[in-house]
Subunit: 275 residues, 2 copies
Amino acid sequence: MEHCGRLFCTPLTDRPSNQIGAAMDSSRLPANARLLPCELCPLRPRPALREFSPEELAFVKSFKVDELRVAAGTNFLRERTQSEHLYTVLSGWAFRYKLLDDGRRQILNYAIPADMLGLQGAIMKEMEHSVDALTPMALCVFPRTRLWDLYSRFPSLAFDITWLAAREEQHIDENLLSLGRRSALERLAYLLLHLFARAEEVGLTQNRSVQFPFTQQHLADSLGMSLVHTNRTVQRLLATKIVRWNNRVFEVVDRDELAVLAGDEAQPRVPRPFI
Amino acid sequence: MEHCGRLFCTPLTDRPSNQIGAAMDSSRLPANARLLPCELCPLRPRPALREFSPEELAFVKSFKVDELRVAAGTNFLRERTQSEHLYTVLSGWAFRYKLLDDGRRQILNYAIPADMLGLQGAIMKEMEHSVDALTPMALCVFPRTRLWDLYSRFPSLAFDITWLAAREEQHIDENLLSLGRRSALERLAYLLLHLFARAEEVGLTQNRSVQFPFTQQHLADSLGMSLVHTNRTVQRLLATKIVRWNNRVFEVVDRDELAVLAGDEAQPRVPRPFI
DNA sequence: CGGGTTCTTGACTAGTTTCAAGCAAAGTGG
DNA sequence: CCACTTTGCTTGAAACTAGTCAAGAACCCG
């Protein structure tokens, strides 16, 4: 399994276009790029995602005005900025983060396929966080100007959006619990287990392994620890043999043990909305 | 200014009924208690809150089915539980928190008048956090069963609810940044400044002071620190003379300095929704 | 091959928790 | 109205956790 392998790519975006230098928020693909029609969306069939009625599907299809491809490392949503767009991740990983004046960074959460980004910016006046691509990504682009249309004509979709916002909040609540009250090792175990579980939901796992695209520096910035301490904690976790982690491939050897370490009460999942 | 003073009580709930032992979620006020009609809502006129159209007002009035009064310390929303209701705080303070198995507690946020509680439980199947009253409270009660009605008939209110969810997420994002990347002193300064600013929005402040109802233990559980270290940090903050804090009365002496300490970029506020 | 990024390690320092105790104010009950 | 209990705040010392600095190793990529 070589670097930037297929594990984190959905079939339709198998050959991510690293070479497309999408440097800025405004950079879109040339018009000749064809949009993936929503009825062929590779994510929709996943059992974790709720189905659409034909009317919903038709609306969403018209709501999607573009498809954006960005290179790994692209900063495509910026703090204190107003964004014209709302995105859904089609493929690839991103992370949401905030910065302090002196450069200290806190990663708030990761986004994977089927996650929505930029909702805050679409609803409030400004974004209060930034988002960077961690890998090459494909994003569905929705105009914020039509969000009102969605709310008036499709209450079911409006409800879904609120659902997604509430779920995002839940994730951050969990994270806050981690940073505030879990030990370094528990925190790490919790984060890795939950990223694994989310990746599983959208089919990014094979057996018990995923391709995790982040570095230990990202991990450190997620866990609120220094790089050095993160490294030592990772080694401590690996020493337990509960997980394996070589190259960028992460494997859960004993999921129950990992859950115990994470202090996690496993929660049953129900199909979730996805727009 | 004596304990449980008026600073944190809105006019209409001036004499909080401590003696009403509202022990459980299901405990409601006897039917003889009259509901405060929404058109006389004491919060609505505040400049920080957006106005309603007559239709919206009429709907919300019918949406509000009860008014709940709970004593300080009441746990009125519980983790892993499904709640039939959605609440808006009319008066008093509450806090949202999560617990780990062994009792470690992380306070996620505080709720003050005009804040909505229990949205997560109304939208998802279960609550993922608990909420306790910090003071005697009055709450408007909305049935989750009619939330769908709201979404289909009043997209503007549906939008407001999403707005409120997004705002709550913003607060937690900030908190996560604090716990992960701010020093103990910065963290404390940030929390206090922001609670002060929120209290100000809904008229809980007088000059530069508020009645803060929480103890240092609550503070510790909010900041992710031990009680002892919180105490020393509070003393360190008081030593700067930037704030005063006697009995439960907190006073901001030099707001700019406090903002600098907190590493806070002051954000301009626009009127927010309130249901 | 060479330069950059990522990971690893050791030694030292700073920050934070834990334990233990004492004190002050408020609340309770005879 | 006065012991008595409880709750919240404060303090010191010891132990531990985590951060910083510095340097080297491993890996990746052109």
